[in-house]
C-alpha cells in the first residue's frame, strides 16, 4: 500500500512538472503542445489526491499524512534531479 502511495505520488509530481513548459522541454527534449498543459496539471493533481487517499488507507489518519509529506520531500527531489539532469542533454536548454 505504501509503495503504491509513493509511486502514485511520484507520477503526480512528474505530471505536474510536465505541465510546466520549462520542465516539459527539459524532460521530453521537445516543445510542449499548448493543449497538453492543462491536462497534465489536472492529471497531476488527481494523482496526488489519489496518493493521499492511498496513504491514509495504508497508515491511518494519524500516520498517513506524515508518511505522505515525508515521502513527498524525497519524491519531489527526485523529479527535480531528473529534470535538471535531462536538461543537461539538451543543447538549446536554458
Amino acid at each position: 500500500m505504501l509503495i503504491t502511495m509513493i509511486f502514485v505520488q511520484a507520477a503526480g509530481f512528474l505530471l505536474l512538472a510536465l505541465s510546466q513548459k520549462y520542465h516539459y522541454r527539459n524532460l521530453m527534449h521537445r516543445a510542449p503542445q499548448s493543449s497538453g498543459q492543462t491536462a497534465f496539471r489536472f492529471a497531476g493533481f488527481a494523482a496526488l489526491a489519489v496518493s493521499v487517499g492511498t496513504g491514509l488507507q495504508a497508515e491511518g489518519m494519524q500516520f498517513g499524512p506524515i508518511w505522505w509529506l515525508a515521502s513527498a520531500n524525497v519524491v519531489a527531489l527526485l523529479v527535480l534531479v531528473l529534470s535538471a539532469w535531462r536538461a543537461e542533454g539538451e543543447p538549446n536548454g536554458r
Binding site: F13, A17, F63, L69, A70, V74, A76, L77, V79, S83
Partner: protein, 546 residues
C-alpha cells in the same frame, strides 16, 4: 503580494537567517543525527555488535537469572529487551543504600564496574541513569560496552548546547529557534514563484544555482521545517515564556523514601510466558522494558514505541501494563492518552518533533527531511557570502564580511569535520581509558575550534576546500578504521545482517561523497573567471518582474 512587501521580507529573511545562522546550522545537524541517537550510540559501542537477539521469553529469563546473581539486593530491576533501534539486551538495577558486595563473587567485579560507570554518566548530566550492563542473549555473558556519550551528546547539544548551564543553553537555542521561525515565515512571503520554480534547479549558474538549491531544500520539506521549528519552540516554551506561574513538580519524589529492604521477590518464580503473552494480546507494539518492583512483587511492562500521536510523547513510555509477580494476572492497564483536544494538539506537535513513534522506514525519511534543513541553512549562509563577494569589485574586504566568511567555514565544513573526529576518537581512544566519554567530547570541540583557526589563517576558497576534503576523508575512512580496530564494518555488517552498523557506515560514505563533491564544486567555481560577476548579483526573485 506587492513587490515592496516581498522585498522587505527578503531583507528580514536575510538578517534573521544570518544573525544566528551558524548556531542554527549546528542545531539542525546535531538534531538530524539525533533522530538516530540510539543507533549512533550502538555504533559507538562495538562491544555490543557481536550478540544477536533471540526470543523475548528466553532473553527475559536469561536477564532475570543474571540480575539474581549481580544484584540480589536491589529493590528494582529493569530489563530492556532488544529493539529495532537498540538491538542489545540490557539489565539495570536500583539499590541505593544496600550492600554492593551482596553480588555473588563471580559478578562482584561486574557490579562495581557498572556502578562506577553509572556514577560517571550521572556526573555528566542528563536524565539520571541506574547502573546496568549488557547481556549476550545467547551465552549470558556480561558485556561492559565502552563508556561513551554516543548519540546522546549530539542530541543534548541540539537543545542545550555545551560548556554552559542547561538553562542558558536552552535559552540560546530558543532564541535561535525564534530567529529560524521568523526566517521561515519571511522566506515564504518573499519567495514569489513558489509553485512555478517548484522543480527547478539550474546547474552551473553560480548564485542562481545556490538559490535554486536553497529554495528546493526549503520548499520540499517546508511542512517539516515549520513543524520542527514550531514544535521546537513549544518544547522549550517553558524557558522562552516562563509565565505559567507553576513549578514543575518532580514525580516519584515522595515514594522514594521507604522502609528497609524486606522480602525481595525472587524472579525465578515469575510466570513470564503468561505475562509476555498477555502483553502481546493487549498491544499492537512489542514490549520494550520490564520493570520489577521487588518489594511489591509486581512487574510493569512498557511498550517499545508509541502507536499513537496522542500518547505521552517523551519522558517515558505511553503504554504500561502491570502484572502480579506471583500468578501473572494483569493488575492494571495504563495508557497515557491525551484527555482533550488541546492536549491532543499539544502532544501531537511534540510527538512529531521527537519522532519516537517512527519505525525505521519513516525514521529514514525524517532523517532526509532533516538533511534538507541542514542544506537549507548551509546554502542560505553561503548565499549571503556569495552575494557580498559578487558585489565587491575591489580587493578590499571589510572586517565584518571576513568574519562572516570565517564563521561560515567553521560552522558548515568545520562542524562536519568535528563530528567525523568525534567518531574517530570513539574508535581510537582505548576502551578502558578513564573518563573516555568526556575525552571524546573534548576532542570534538578541539577539532571544531581548530577549523575556525584554520579558516582565519587561509584564504576562504582554500579553507573551504581543505576542510571539506579532510572531513570527507575522515568520513570515507571511518568504515576502514572500524575494520582496523577490530569492529564490524560495512561488508561484515551486511554479511551478518547488522543493518544499524551497515547503515551508519553507508551514511558515512555518502557524507564523504557529498563533501568531496562540494569541494570539487568550489574548486571549479574559483577556476572559472569570477562566476558571480557573470550573473546578476541581484536576486531575481526580489525584483518585480513588471
Amino acid at each position: 503580494m506587492s513587490a515592496g512587501v516581498r522585498q522587505k521580507n527578503a531583507w528580514l529573511h536575510g538578517w534573521a537567517g544570518l544573525l544566528l545562522g551558524w548556531l542554527m546550522f549546528a542545531i539542525f545537524v546535531t538534531g538530524t543525527i539525533a533522530f538516530f541517537r540510539q543507533e549512533v550510540t550502538y555504533w559507538m559501542q562495538p562491544e555490543l555488535h557481536d550478540s544477536d537477539p533471540g526470543e523475548p521469553l528466553e532473553m527475559a529469563r536469561m536477564a532475570i537469572d543474571r540480575l539474581e546473581h549481580i544484584a540480589p539486593d536491589a529493590r528494582e530491576w529493569q530489563i530492556e529487551l532488544p529493539s529495532e533501534r537498540e538491538p542489545q539486551l540490557s539489565v539495570s538495577w536500583e539499590a541505593d543504600g544496600a550492600e554492593a558486595d551482596s553480588a555473588s563473587s563471580a559478578f562482584a567485579a561486574d557490579r562495581a564496574r557498572a556502578e562506577e560507570a553509572a556514577a560517571q554518566a550521572n556526573a555528566r548530566g542528563g536524565r539520571p541513569r541506574d547502573p546496568g550492563v549488557a547481556v549476550d542473549p545467547a551465552t549470558g555473558a556480561i558485556i561492559h560496552p565502552r563508556e561513551t556519550a554516543g548519540g546522546d551528546f549530539l542530541y543534548h547539544f541540539h537543545y542545550q548546547l555545551h560548556f554552559m548551564s542547561r538553562g542558558s543553553g536552552m535559552l540560546l537555542v530558543g532564541l535561535v529557534t525564534l530567529a529560524m521561525f521568523i526566517a521561515i515565515l519571511s522566506g515564504i512571503v518573499t519567495h514569489k514563484k513558489i509553485f512555478k520554480d517548484f522543480f527547478t534547479f539550474r546547474r552551473r549558474k553560480g548564485q542562481r544555482s545556490w538559490l535554486d538549491a536553497h529554495n528546493a531544500a526549503a520548499v520540499f520539506a517546508l511542512p517539516f521545517h515549520l513543524m520542527i521549528t514550531f514544535s521546537g519552540l513549544l518544547l522549550i516554551g517553558g524557558t522562552l515564556l516562563p509565565f505559567s506561574g507553576q513549578e514543575r513538580n518532580r514525580e516519584r519524589q515522595g515514594e522514594m523514601e521507604q522502609q528497609a529492604p524486606t522480602d525481595l521477590a525472587a524472579g525465578s518464580s515469575l510466570p513470564l510466558s503468561k505475562i509476555l503473552h498477555t502483553a502481546q494480546r493487549e498491544w499492537s507494539v512489542p514490549v520494550g522494558r520490564l520493570s520489577f518492583d521487588r518489594r511489591a512483587n509486581t512487574v510493569e511492562l512498557s511498550s517499545q514505541r508509541n502507536d499513537s500521536l496522542f500518547l505521552r510523547p517523551g519522558g517515558g513510555p505511553g503504554r504500561n501494563l502491570t502484572f502480579d509477580g506471583t500468578d501473572g494476572t494483569l493488575l492494571e492497564r495504563e495508557d497515557n492518552l491525551a484527555s482533550d483536544g488541546i492536549d491532543r494538539t499539544n502532544r501531537a506537535i511534540r510527538a512529531l518533533h521527537l519522532g519516537r513513534f517512527a519505525d525505521w522506514q519513516l525514521r529514514w525519511l525524517y532523517f532526509v527531511a532533516g538533511i534538507g534543513g541542514t542544506v537549507m541553512v548551509a546554502t542560505g549562509l553561503v548565499l549571503w557570502s556569495v552575494k557580498r563577494a559578487a558585489k565587491r569589485r575591489d580587493a578590499l574586504i571589510p572586517i565584518g564580511q571576513r568574519l562572516a566568511e570565517i564563521l561560515n567555514i567553521g560552522a558548515v565544513a568545520g562542524l562536519n569535520l568535528a563530528i567525523a573526529t568525534y567518531f574517530w576518537a570513539n574508535r581510537l581512544v582505548p576502551a578502558g581509558t578513564p573518563n573516555r566519554a568526556e575525552l571524546e567530547i573534548r576532542l570534538f570541540f578541539i577539532a571544531w575550534t581548530v577549523t575556525y583557526l584554520h579558516a582565519a589563517a587561509r584564504k576562504p576558497q582554500v579553507a573551504w576546500v581543505e576542510q571539506l576534503m579532510v572531513g570527507g576523508g575522515l568520513f570515507a575512512l571511518l568504515p576502514i578504521l572500524s575494520f582496523a580496530t577490530g569492529s564490524l564494518w560495512l561488508p561484515s555488517a551486511v554479511a551478518s545482517g547488522n543493518w544499524i552498523v551497515a547503515g551508519f557506515d553507508a551514511v558515512c560514505l555518502l557524507t564523504a561523497t557529498v563533501m568531496f563533491c562540494a569541494a570539487r564544486f568550489i574548486t571549479r567555481g574559483s577556476e572559472r573567471d569570477n562566476v558571480a560577476q557573470d550573473f546578476p548579483i541581484v536576486d531575481r526573485s526580489l525584483v518585480p518582474a513588471e
